[in-house]
Amino acid sequence: MKRMSNTRKIVSVAVVFLIYFLAWFAEARLGTNSMLITVLKKGAVYALIAASMNLLNGFTGLFSLGQAGFMLVGAYVYAVFTIPLKRHAAVYQYYNGGIIQFELPMLVALLLAGIVAALLAALVGLPVLRLKSDYLAIATLGFAEIIRAIVQWDTLGPITNGSNLLKTYPTFKDAKIFGSTVLFPFLVSGVCIVVILLLINSTYGRAFKAIRDDEIAAEAMGVNLFRTKELAFVISCFFAGIGGALLAMFQGTVQANSFKSSMTYDILLMVVIGGMGSISGSVVASFLYIACSEWWLRFLDNELVIGTFHVPLLRSGFRMVVFSAVIMVVVLFFRKGLMGDKELWNLQLNRERRLRR
């Protein structure tokens, strides 16, 4: 990426602030429970997760399908350590209140969620990252399933509550900024995504891209293949962990059962729609994806009668059919996604240069 000019930096920061202000304003006007605010919050969470997956799949060329597993770890670490002590007896109703008898502040737990996910990734990465392309994909998918089975294991119940869901931990409504629940996920996601962007434009980021483009050439250029891959994997999983914790905050309850491979596929599709190799593409695609699947296309699920005309096809499940058909069209015919490997600000930059010329 070209170095940004100062004006461009200022404009970017101003645009981000404007978006944050608009989000805050929308919540103040429409109320916390409107669908728009829900979609914005969930979209912000998924934006971070999609960006973290893009870092791995789009920038480093490592096709990993383990994202849901690391999100699960993040979500559980966050939930387990922030459930208020006085609620333990009720939450861990089958495990005598559990064995973790302390609680951490929200932000500490959020950070811990990322760290634990990253540590686990470092361990998992040692064997798995020696594998190539689709073998890597299937091995990471397998690891995610193993993590899920372990978390649900009854013997670990005093920590993870086994098969039962965790709740009563602090959520976005306990993290209000200026009286708004939407700013917290926006801020955390925003900061994390900026960090990811800075990383991509650093020496490390260039090493990542070198590996993606040609492993052998990269190695010849002096890039330590394994260490660089491991670094990308750990960092990606760190942010997936934080994303998982944010998802737990968004949902208010968390259960290992919902972190299935289909969740990873959802995120992968967001990355593809946004464009492999474009962080801003991932962010935009996440908001679009969540808004379409949770909100705009909902009407397809309800039977509709106009006058005496019964609109055909519309019934429960149709939304997902239309949605997945659209995804297939994108995958087959718009392989570059919304943004290809460009970033939003680069688009403008190009035009500017053209004008100058």
Binding site: M35, L165, S316
Partner: protein, 390 residues
């Protein structure tokens, strides 16, 4: 192109949710119509819809309101349930009924509590639904009671050793299994517990484990999708001991699976279809007639007119909701939440409903039924009350 897209998006994001029409009160129906619990959820919705056809309007504070049911599918999934619940809240419902499946109820509960919209659980039996949520009430009995009922029943069949099989990662089954184990061990019995991963089709290994351990009963509270496989495979392995389960197994799916096979299946449930006294008989005959008139509804009921207990609970839940609206004298969720603790509904087909301080109905009666392998219907075995357990 990108700019136009961006503008379109912004516009679309700002489309406001449509305003309420005058004199309409919205009741949210928060049920799964797909996923593992889809079959049960649909039956529960049928009860609500039938009740709605009998009483389409309600008088609140002297004004007559038309009741509009807002259905949303929570897909039997605790993560999908959150946005489904959010959608109900944002569509402006005054209160919510459901869900079949405690996991979805607990996940949705948080959203309802945050929005201050009261919810009435119809058949979710896990204690945490109400204890951890101030906005959830419930009209059925709880798992500690149900588990104790089935443990006592197993004991009365002469079982000293039981095998508890639940699905890994599902709260309903694990909770109920836990209470069953507690009660059964309290009676001097021995329990072996195992779990199966989601998506399991082959239960022969589990049934073998049970046979090899020499158990005298299997208690397997799980979704009906798995239940039919368990029954089928147990029958083909010629097991001699009975299969027991909680309320989810009271379904025509179980009857079909057990039909014509040599296997004993017992379930505990909320309601007896063949009860001829009180409001129940009128409900049963009316509901059957309604099912037979509407082909769609009959399909949703599993293609027959057997009255499921959850339909009866759906029926009662709707009426309790109307009673709450009348008591509140307003369609404001806050007023309804304030009025709910005092609501008493005597004419319930599943037995009179009044709430305790946690928000649970004071229910002390469960019905044990046995799947008849020849007539493909549930035979009434006995009633069990709390007093009888002590």
């Amino acid at each position: 192109m990108k700019k136009i897209l961006a503008i379109l998006l912004t516009v679309a994001l700002l489309i406001p949710t449509f305003a309420l029409a005058d004199n309409v009160v919205k009741i949210g129906v928060f049920e799964p119509s797909s996923g593992d619990n889809g079959a049960g959820g649909k039956q529960e919705v049928l009860g609500v819809e039938y009740a709605n056809t009998l009483k389409p309007t309600v008088t609140i504070g002297g004004t007559e309101y038309t009741v509009q049911l807002v259905n949303v599918d929570n897909q039997s999934d605790s993560s999908k349930a959150v946005t489904a619940a959010q959608e109900l809240v944002s569509s402006g419902v005054s209160l919510v009924l459901g869900s079949y499946g405690s996991g979805a109820s607990m996940a949705g509960g948080d959203v309802f509590a945050e929005a201050g919209v009261p919810a009435i659980g119809l058949s979710c039996t896990n204690p945490s639904v109400t204890t951890l949520c101030d906005y959830y009430w419930r009209i059925c009995f709880l798992d500690p009671f149900q588990g104790a009922v089935m443990a006592n029943f197993a004991n009365s069949l002469g079982a000293k050793k039981a095998y508890v099989l639940t699905m890994l990662g599902e709260d309903y089954g694990n909770g109920l299994g836990h209470y069953f184990t507690q009660a059964f061990e309290g009676l001097g019995g021995e329990v072996i517990s195992e779990t199966f991963p989601e998506g399991t089709s082959d239960f022969t290994a589990y049934i073998n484990n049970a046979v090899n351990a020499g158990v005298e009963a299997i208690f397997a509270p799980c979704a009906t999708t798995y239940a039919s496989l368990i029954i089928d495979q147990a029958a083909s392995m010629n097991v001699t001991f009975p299969l027991l389960a909680g309320d989810t197994w009271e379904s025509s799916v179980i009857l079909e699976a057990a039909a014509g096979k040599k296997v004993d299946v017992y379930v505990s449930t909320f309601f007896d279809e063949n009860d001829t006294s009180g409001p129940a008989s009128a409900f049963v005959s009316g509901f059957k007639a309604w099912l037979n008139e509407n082909a769609d509804k009959k399909t949703n009921n599993g293609g027959n007119d057997i009255v499921a207990a959850v339909s009866a609970l759906g029926f009662d839940g709707y009426n309790v909701a109307l009673a709450a609206l009348e008591a509140a004298g307003s369609i404001d969720p806050a007023d309804i939440a304030a009025a709910l603790p005092g609501v008493v509904y005597e004419d319930a087909v599943t037995g009179s409903i009044a709430f305790d301080e946690i928000g649970d109905a004071k229910k002390d009666m469960a019905y044990v039924k046995k799947a008849n392998n020849d007539t493909v219907a549930f035979d009434f075995v006995k009633t069990q009350s709390v007093a009888g357990l002590e």
